[in-house]
């Protein structure tokens, strides 16, 4: 136990534990004092509003009719959502988007990190370029790919036509499936960097001896990677996963700009649906019920990776 911690605990518990020290000035435990501002801010902006929205998800609240805020209808919003086919299609699409995007980002990020790590010269420059997409605001990413995928003047169609790969313009963003792919590309472009950076950090922090020992012992490159390198960098990959899952909802910005859920709601995801129901339709009660399902989804994703992170950390911990 460290002395600083000991002091802190003493001051925290002196009233109960050590009446002999009563003569000393009464003090609030220091760490709680230090955490107080964070508690206050988060309570004011996140916890209290969320409690409010939990309540209003049990009402038929509409922005246009404030009095409906006080009508309590129990779980009717949720029941209606559970039997709403369109909602579940959207929910499934969101999960599909996230699963495909996160997995591809992971694989591509790993590949990118390995490529950059192997480079003998200009690694600093390569690392900087690699981080490039991270700086783009999701809105910007959305706009950028809306421009590139534009069926008439977009770079992608122009290039495909110039190369003679297609005669007519491909209706990216107008066809439902193609639009989904375009969104996926934008999402992957913007977030692969997160994985690449952390995996690269893991690769560089890794001691060289185990790899050399594996080589001497006659492992193939694949075996070396699978059984020596991968376990080492796994915690880093999960950090990236956890960080990514903390703001998976940024896909909202991209979708909002690129298709706004269209064409004909074929690329509607949970978050665009919430925005549409809450603001455009002004049905706040239902939107809040949806929001709670979306929050639950985020928490499930984060908790999943956080547990993996803890597990990977415990596994590697012995060797660090």
């Amino acid at each position: 136990m460290d002395p600083a911690g000991a002091i802190a605990q003493d001051s925290g518990y002196e009233q109960e534990k050590a009446p002999a020290k009563r003569s000393r000035r009464w003090k609030v435990p220091v760490p709680f004092l230090l955490l107080l501002p964070a508690f206050v801010v988060l309570a004011a902006v996140v916890v209290v509003p969320l409690a409010l929205s939990l309540y209003s998800s049990f009402t038929p609240f509409r922005l246009t009719r404030p009095d409906t805020f006080w009508t309590f209808i129990g779980f009717r919003n949720y029941v209606r959502l559970l039997s709403d086919w369109e909602f579940w299609v959207t929910f499934g699409r969101t999960v599909l988007l996230l699963t495909v995007a996160l997995n591809l980002e992971m694989v591509l990020g790993l590949g990118l990190a390995l490529l950059v790590e192997k480079a003998t010269r200009g690694q600093r420059l390569l690392r900087t370029i690699m981080m490039f997409p991270m700086m783009f605001s999701p809105v910007l990413v959305g706009f950028q790919f809306k421009f590139l995928f534009n069926d008439n003047i977009g770079l992608i169609n122009n290039a495909l036509q110039a190369l003679g790969l297609t005669d007519s313009a491909i209706p990216w963003l107008i066809d439902g499936t193609l639009a989904f792919i375009a969104i996926l590309v934008a999402e992957i472009w913007s977030s692969t960097a997160v994985f690449a950076i952390f995996i690269l950090a893991g690769l560089m922090a890794m001691p060289k001896e185990p790899v050399e020992a594996a080589k001497v012992d006659g492992c193939t490159p694949w075996q070396t990677f699978r059984y020596v390198t991968w376990p080492f960098i796994m915690p880093f990959a999960y950090i990236a996963m956890t960080i990514r899952s903390l703001d998976i909802a940024r896909a909202y910005d991209i979708v909002k700009i690129m298709t706004d859920g269209g064409p004909a709601k074929r690329t509607e995801i949970l978050w665009t649906l919430i925005a549409r129901t809450g603001y455009a339709d002004a049905r706040m009660g239902v939107a809040n019920a949806m929001a709670y399902i979306a929050i639950l989804l985020s928490i499930v994703f984060t908790a999943m990776f956080f547990r993996q992170l803890a597990k990977a950390r415990a596994q590697v911990g012995a060797e660090w």
Binding site: A38, V41, L112, V116, S137, I153, F236, A249, M284, I299
Partner: protein
């Protein structure tokens, strides 16, 4: 001899494949951004040309000049948006840093009951999707009359940034050896002096990068800003960009120029902090 040659050839092929792969990856990363920059410098006629004009015939800064001279392209007040973005991002970053430093220091240096649940709880507040949070915030802000004000957005962004700032700063303070502050205290410093004169300077680069990260989050945020702002009083650049897409005739060149204006501060700042950012996040997470 033969085996040697074969081995050398194989190595040569592998090296070439590596270079090609690296080149393709970098091209895929850079091309979209470069295309935006290029498009912002070309006349609209060239952007819209069919068949496409690949090699720009004339480049000019007209789009930028138009944007910053009074009410810009398509009546979009870029200067006001820019001003709002700067005010809101800087203020919320400073406050988030102060709050985050206190919190991060508490997590790095003290033991207290419920430490990891509290940490986890802070992180969970970050998982709430912006749009889901915007619903009740919109309602509360409307009641308090702080919709479409700088104050409202700053408050929201502070809350958005605090969890992550705490995570980062916690990591940076862990990297500063505890012994240093203790030595200073033995030499007669108060706890506060030991912090301010020994630990803080050592953790400063890390704290700066946490600040830049917070700045970028606020600078780029869209989901909350799009609902909590209404007019030039408080609209930020990401929301301003949407003004362009909402119209039927999209001024691609103007949008590209605005995109470049948005990305430059982010680019410069990220360039400065990249090293510290990764070390802070990993040290906090790996060493527990």
């Amino acid at each position: 001899m033969d085996a040697n040659a074969a081995h050398r050839a194989k190595r040569g092929v592998l090296k070439a494949a590596h270079l090609v792969g690296l080149f393709l990856a970098m091209a895929f990363i850079c091309l979209p951004g470069l295309w935006i920059v290029l498009s912002s410098l070309r006349p609209t006629v060239e952007i819209m040309a069919k068949p496409p004009v690949w090699i720009p015939q004339q480049l000019s800064f007209d789009a930028y000049v138009a944007m910053f001279s009074g009410v810009g392209q398509g009546g979009i007040p870029v200067i006001e948006y820019f001003r709002n973005s700067i005010i809101i991002s800087v203020t919320s970053t400073v406050i988030a840093l102060a709050v985050g430093m206190a919190g991060g220091y508490a997590f790095a240096r003290y033991r207290f009951p419920g430490k990891s649940p509290i940490f986890l709880g802070f992180m969970l507040t970050r998982t709430v999707p912006g749009i889901a949070l915007s619903l009740p915030l919109f309602f509360v802000y409307a009641r308090l009359g702080i919709i479409d004000t700088h104050f409202g957005l700053i408050l929201a962004y502070v809350a958005l940034n605090v969890p992550f700032t705490i995570w980062l700063i916690d990591g940076f303070f862990r990297q500063v050896p505890k012994d240093l502050a203790e030595a200073a205290q033995i030499d007669g410093c108060t706890r506060w002096q030991a912090f301010w004169q020994v630990e803080f300077p050592l953790a400063r680069p890390g704290i700066a990068s946490a600040g830049i990260f917070a700045f970028l989050t606020s600078w780029n945020e869209f989901a909350l800003a799009s609902q909590l702002t209404r007019s030039t009083n408080s609209k930020t650049l990401p929301v301003g960009l949407l003004d362009y897409t909402a119209e039927f005739t999209i001024d691609w060149r103007g949008m590209c120029a605005l995109a470049v204006v948005m990305i430059i501060p982010a680019l410069v700042l990220t360039f400065i902090v990249q090293k510290h950012l990764v070390s802070g996040l990993t040290s906090g997470a790996v060493k527990g």
